[in-house]
Symmetry: C2
Subunit: 109 residues, 2 copies
């Protein structure tokens, strides 16, 4: 336990973005992927965690969930304005990675 003197809004933002997968999921949605299965196979996240993350991102107001009663059913996840507003942050991370991470870095860890 300690006295956190950091801005609680900043901490909240960091907590959101440092939840495993969340940044990658938003990145995928920025990239046009909107369906459960698309996002899952693009990222490799497990169905269980994807389901959890989508729920908490929805509660956080980052995404919307839309049910399209086609057959079979299609669920479309789209970024809200708030979610979309994270684009510059992710692009910054991308830019940083291109300057500072070696190109042949395997993610095997």
């Amino acid at each position: 336990m300690s006295q956190n003197e950091m801005c609680p809004r900043f901490e909240k933002a960091v907590n959101i973005l440092s939840q495993r997968w969340t940044a990658l999921l938003i990145y995928q949605m920025l990239d046009g992927n909107s369906r459960f299965g698309e996002i899952q196979s693009a990222t490799g996240v497990s169905g269980k965690v994807l389901s959890d993350r989508l729920k908490s991102m929805e509660q956080e107001g980052l995404i919307n969930r839309e049910v399209i009663p086609e057959t079979p059913v299609v669920i479309k996840y789209t970024l809200t304005e708030k979610g979309h507003s994270l684009e510059p942050v992710l692009k910054d991370i991308e830019k940083w990675s291109q300057s500072w991470i070696a190109p042949d870095n395997k993610v095997e860890a």
Copy 2:
């Protein structure tokens, strides 16, 4: 398992930043905090995890560890150029949080 088609450098960067505490630790160091105890009490991270993170951040080339043989011993952690280069990313997150996170948000979760 899945076929990740994202840029592996971007993924690596996201993995670094989405490790719990890492972003907050860098933020503290940008703010001038350099000692184990300072960083620990400023953030609230446990000694065990702080120790782990500092090691992996050092291996990642983000920080340097300097032993100053005063009494009692002082260990000084400072950002490398690579570590410091994350400042714009963190400032972007901070800016985002000020626009999109409610001010009275308690971190109690």
